[in-house]
Subunit: 337 residues, 4 copies
């Protein structure tokens, strides 16, 4: 069995999870190199898992011709530049979302993908690989709910992580870029269209700290799409019960909901609180399986030399919409695209 040799850059909370998945969860992937500006992270990963190469400098890793592909899990501000460098150096590239932090950057990444058309590029909108989302998409494509009318997406982080959220607020880009970008991608995927008008509201309902960065702790947007379908997005940081990612697609013949109860597992507890389900506590718990499946798809695309469904343009388009929503929220106005 041919194995795809992968070097990963970024070994933070999500990066280390991706590294572990590459190393152990996808049979035909091999974690050949790890890279982080934090030397200790490189050292630890190499030692724990016996990884052959370690780098603190990304460009050094790009010179390792033993590698087939680069997996980018670095801070969002570095994505586009690292994508460009890796593609131009001849590697297949997987990048975590978001594609970039400005639309201009995204356009540069598009060009890099276009001029390296023989390389596989894939973007980490992992929800599309979650078994529940995939099942929903298949049912909808089969006509189970008729023609989609409305998409509703909630993405709310647990309040238990609020300290980290506040620290991150300065560079997050705001709730629409940080949290709602996945829902924007899903809305485009399910509605099969692009947003044309956006109104957004929100505010700091519990944590005024977000206002310093022209952000809210909770925001919402209503979008009209080019095919006249609609999307309601709700994103924030105040979920008490856990990591609340809930999605609904209403169609002319039915409705599908994904994780209307964002339950942790199949356990139901009955006690003085009533009958209850406990919830997933973070995205790593909720989407553990999706991260593995998207990685497997990336590896399969390389081995089978076919393009992934998620393209660089999905990254740009989602970013454009997220920025428009941010503008609508900040200026309290209707933005037309």
């Amino acid at each position: 069995m041919k194995k795809v040799k992968i070097g990963i850059v970024g070994l933070g909370r999500l990066g280390i999870k991706h590294a572990e998945n590459i190393a152990f969860k996808v049979p035909n992937a091999e974690l050949t190199a790890v890279c982080s500006t934090v030397e200790e992270e490189v050292h630890n990963a190499q030692k724990s898992w016996g990884i052959k190469y370690g780098y603190t400098n990304y460009k050094d890793m790009l010179e390792n011709k033993e590698l087939d592909a680069i997996f980018i899990a670095s801070p969002s501000g570095l994505h586009c530049e690292q994508i460009e460098q890796a593609l131009d150096a001849g590697y297949h590239v997987f990048s975590e979302k978001p594609l970039g932090v400005t639309v201009e950057e995204c356009k540069r990444a598009e060009k890099a993908v276009e001029r390296n058309a023989d390389k596989i590029f894939m973007l980490g909108f992992m929800r599309r690989f979650d078994p529940s989302y995939r099942y929903a998409k298949e049912k909808i494509d089969e006509g189970a709910i008729g023609k989609p009318i409305m998409f509703r997406g909630y993405s709310v982080d647990p309040e238990s992580c609020i300290e980290g959220s506040i620290r991150f607020a300065a560079i997050s880009g705001g709730q629409f870029i940080d949290m709602a970008i996945h829902d924007i991608d899903l809305a485009r995927w399910f509605l099969n269209s692009e947003a044309k008008s956006i109104f957004a509201v929100g505010g700091c309902y519990a944590y005024p700290q977000f206002a310093e960065h022209h952000d809210g702790d909770t925001v919402a947007a209503l979008m009209q799409f080019e095919n006249d379908t609609m999307a309601f997005l709700y994103a924030g940081k105040l979920a008490q019960h856990g990591y609340n990612v809930e999605t609904e697609i209403v169609g002319t013949k039915g409705t599908i909901r994904i994780a209307a109860v964002p339950q942790k597992n199949l356990v139901e507890v009955i006690d003085t609180n009533g009958v209850r389900k406990e919830c997933s506590q973070n995205f790593l718990e909720r989407f553990e399986e999706s991260f593995v499946i998207e990685l497997q798809e990336f590896v399969n695309c390389i081995l089978e030399n076919r393009k992934p469904e998620i393209t660089v343009y999905d990254g740009t388009k989602s970013t454009v919409i997220a920025y428009a929503a941010t503008e609508a929220f900040r200026e309290n106005k209707l933005v037309r695209l």
Copy 2:
């Protein structure tokens, strides 16, 4: 509109509720007389609702020829005698469950019903009038689950009422007579057959006080019916979440569950406990509507001169089964009927 004039005996917790239903909830019923050995109860009911007649002696009420019907909500040990007296005095009779506390008594009540064949007699198995149970029965009769195989019935009182339960233990007859009698009636109704073999177990898991009365705080029975269907009954006093009456009927083509979550209303609370439904807290809350509907049915039977579906024999048969289950539990053996 002809009104049925009713005299009620027993003004305890459930009796007073029945009295209120007669007075206000069924248009063609009139609460004409109230009777209780507790003079204050009689006085209060008369005064609050302007009831014409009040009695502290049951026999006195039976001499009031203005009445059409007697509603019996007195202690279980008095039911059969009072049924007999009321029927023989020429009244239609509604009696709360259980029919009686011994099988012999029940047989005497049967005879009284038989010799007063022109009178309406109805027994208070109110669950059969609950909209959810009725809906389930209709679906099953229409074949929605094929042929019934197994009935599962839970009837568990909230632990918050444990003090009253313990006080009542001496005269309750035990969990099978007190709590499971409704499930026994439902099992007979849904399975359309009679129990032939019963094994029962249980014990005092939290409150040893029940053992003094040869009872448990929780008991269970597995029954085989004459048509070879089966019933599992579970009854007790330890529900933390509320009044837990849950029923399941498994058939060859599907399953129906009633109140698998014994929810209080349509509210779902999402908080640090997860996603939860709060539960009904007692039988008056859970079956409020059923008590009105069964009363309406009793009144309609009188006005339309037709016999109710629930007969005196349902009372006897349920009692026979409940006693057999009690014997199986107390002697830890298999009882065949």
Copy 3:
């Protein structure tokens, strides 16, 4: 017991239900008169229930000095005029929603209420009396979800009624007036504020007939309130599963949902379709109890000489918002109030 003598005008689908409730479901109410321009409706109601007075002319009924109160269940376009006439004739008045079909009308009704300050006036926003909504409101007032942030309300009629919906489209005022007016009232009630900015979208996704009346078969609005909370409303005619009224209030400390599954009863069916709950099929089924409770409250207000919580201003304010949403939808713009 003093009985409030009520004359009802309007004996259509909902009117006849109200008439029945007055006649039989509220002990201290008496249905003394019925009025409809359809003589047969008057005749039938009088005959079936033995109602003393019948009218085909509303003004004639207003001259019956035996009456205490007038219950208005006529077409929406008549509400305000009939309210004014009844109040000025010296009666207490209950009017079905909406208060009126123009804001000007509503203002006239306000004045009539103000100049008859000794009379009880109540508007039929019955959801506020639904036990689940009341329970939710009490929990929220007790702080169970912290400070409300976002209200989400769905009101979607079953597609099975689409023919009637299409016929009614010419005079309904559109989905926001017809369907969402209840959610607008609820949003104001739960968020304790008034809308200040509204964006609305929608369209004819299955039935182009609504477009002739500048309406959609489905519409949605995002509203910002004066206290910076937000509301998302979704209304339409395409629900496959039944009458879909679902409400969510997200707060800083938790979330409450009412009828997230708009279930018919406590029955769960398990068959080849999976595990499922069947749904309420229309508003009379879903809100049967609410109609009785609101009526009881109206009668109690009269008997106890106190003002209801729901005022004529609630009617005007909801109408103003509904019109603004309609304008936002029709002109595809952001409307500021």
Copy 4:
């Protein structure tokens, strides 16, 4: 990283899944040899996955000294003999459930385990490794439901597989051995005790073919345990909705349910059937993850030289109970252990 080299015997439906898990899903396991009496199965597995050794004779595989462990997924009747042979040949052994098909066999397996005390032996009660069951166990061990009182376990195969079930009936040992053995193990695990009295009933409600083998298509048992807790088991072949494994543990302070709705995923479908969840269709779908986790635990036990929680005695004890339940069912009597 040290890898445990495993040879598997049995490449049927479940065997091939185990083989795939060994090959790809557990990082420190290596599928070194495959063995089946069906030469084509051996050939296919070797070819697809590049497996080094292939055997059609089990004893030949036991002579391969490169192997560390033997994984037994052969027909139940061979388990004990193959366990004995593999242990005595010096290998660690994992065996699928049931341990054996007679109690005598199980006792022989016990002796083999005892005389090879330095070897790891583990039995495939995979449910104990399912994340939901583990979560439930941890909560119960922490006291979340007080002291367990009653265990309820349903294990019902989908009717869609009835043809295979009927073919298998002759050698399955009956529903208690075939289906309920997992619930028996779970009951022992959760109740922390052994069954002492068993009554069982059941029958052929839809498929008389099972009667030829003294079995039913559906059976149920009520068991009393030594610590006076109780278990109700229900097993069969007639589930319309999918693979119905549902478990409930009622305690003195609360209740825990696992898979009360045996849902396939987090998708909820709303259509003319109401609001519904589709269900898992077979044990491979429901317990996919558990099979991987139990394998990982077996490998970890070998690498860390520690004994698994599940012992050979769990196999014998479950078998003893399953046989007693079978006897109770076949002879329609109460069996005491």
